[in-house]
Amino acid sequence: MFITKVKRILRAGFISFWRNSFVSLASILIMTVTLSVIGLLVFGSAVLNTSLSVLRDKVDINVYFVTGAGEKDILSLRGAIEALPEVKNVEYVSRDESLAIFRTRHEGDQLTLQALDELGGNPLGAVLNIKAKETSQYESIAKFLEGKNALSNGGSQIIDKVNYYQNKTAIDKLSAIISSSRSLGLGIILFFSLISIVITFNTIRLVIYNSREEISVMRLVGASTRYIRGPFVVSGVMYGIVAGFLTLIIFYPLLLWLGPKLSDFFSGFSLLSYYGHHFIEIFLIIMGTGVILGAVSSYLAVRRYLKV
């Protein structure tokens, strides 16, 4: 009997969805808008995270060594720094490489190159470029380096300069921006999602308001709460599923058109490629939201008219 009841509820929900096609269409369209907003916010969140990662990646600490510092000591220091939990990676640039980079950077500046040639030899020391996992962690790495500068090569310090303190203000500001952007981004996502959900809920409530007399008749005929509510919830789920498919279909041409335009702005991040690689997750989020939204909205809306 239970299976028969479930079959009947599913059939009644489907038939109601089909027969009230105009009303169903209105609900589906509103829900598609809601799911599109949620989808755009998922993409927005991905773009934000990628952009912030790129920005974060541009920040590093440079440790300049004196010209007399031995490679063995430098590499030993590198090992010690890499062992720190907050360090992401450490790049070693030798004296020769530093000189080559300097020459390339000043290629068009003959005066500087001439001055360099007149100096003779290589006036530049080796460099360690240190990247931290989080921008807030550079301070502790800089302090560690201060402590390590006590290490000497036969009594003399090997570190010439650490450029953290010069860039501290910029790094601190960037840390603050990243932290605020994350919070703000999340807040915006939640706010717009909530508004969209409320709009969808009210639309479905209006749809069910139309059926209030039908619901009262069902009550008077002696149908149980579950039997009355079931088909409406089934219809709500169907709105969610159809709206979900429509949303996913709409996104493809939208991202095809929008993707290249945003790619340059967001450091080469490809929206279309992100959509392709994360399709399963996006599908689950959109469909899941649609189904839950449709079901819960219908469930709550019918409750109001069941009190006969």
């Binding site: 009997m1 028969t4 009947r8 038939i15 109601s16 027969r19 009230n20 007399e213 039908e214 008749v217 069902m218 009550r219 008077l220 005929v221 002696g222 149908a223 149980s224 709460t225 039997y227 006969v308």
Partner: protein, 226 residues
């Protein structure tokens, strides 16, 4: 079978609608409740259906206070009552067949039973050829016959008909009353509210007259005198 024990009903906005109603209805009776508009006829039916609760007094069905029933018990109780309304109250997006089948599904009947009984009862009310029509495709009289078919399909103990002929022409009115009489002859208690004098006088059954919320007359073989 049914007993109203000193029942009164008062609404906050409209005041006292029923006052001191005490009446009993036996099984297999055909009772007409008559009175002018606002006399309280529909309110009595609503109290019996537990659509409303009495302000004072009790409404008893087989000695049980209907307002003490909970959820599923209320649903089971309502399945023992068939209802016919002036405005038909058919479900608009279901066909005649589906409207009647819904009542059987609500009562937990099986698919084979439904497939057998629904066409049979539609034939009984002479609508065998309109099984798959929607309510908006039926005339007033046809809609009311579907409503009666829905009311009787689960072989209820009582049929309640609230102004069933209010929207019908004389021919359809007569058809509907004849069907209700037939149903009563087969053993179902019928409670009818009406202000159609012709209907009441033809029936020559028990007539309860209401005026301003009170019972003013209760004749076993009454006529319409308001």
């Amino acid at each position: 079978m049914i007993y109203f024990d000193d029942v009164s009903k008062e609404y906050p906005t409209s005041g006292v609608v029923l006052e001191g109603i005490t009446l009993g209805i036996e099984p297999k009776e055909f009772v007409s409740i008559v009175g002018p508009s606002g006399a309280g006829k529909t309110t009595i039916l609503k109290l019996l259906l537990t659509e409303e609760r009495p302000t004072t007094g009790q409404v008893l069905f087989e000695s049980i206070d209907v307002n003490s029933l909970r959820n599923e018990e209320v649903n089971r109780y309502r399945r023992r009552i068939g209802m016919v309304f002036q405005d038909f109250r058919l479900i608009p997006d279901k066909t005649a067949y589906e409207n009647i089948a819904f009542a059987m599904e609500a009562a937990g009947r099986g698919d084979e039973e439904i497939a057998a009984d629904v066409p049979h009862v539609l034939d009984l009310v002479d609508l065998g050829n309109k099984m798959w029509n929607f309510p908006h495709e039926l005339s007033g009289g046809e809609k009311q016959r579907v409503a009666i078919a829905r009311a009787i399909i689960n072989q209820p103990d009582i049929i309640i008909a609230d102004e069933p002929t209010g929207n019908l022409d004389p021919v359809n009115t007569n058809d509907v009353i004849q069907i209700l009489k037939k149903v009563n002859d087969l053993g179902t208690t019928v409670i009818l509210t009406t202000h159609n004098k012709g209907v009441v006088d033809i029936l020559k059954r028990r007539v309860i007259t209401l005026d301003q919320g009170r019972i003013v007359r209760d004749d076993r073989k009454g006529t319409y005198t308001v």
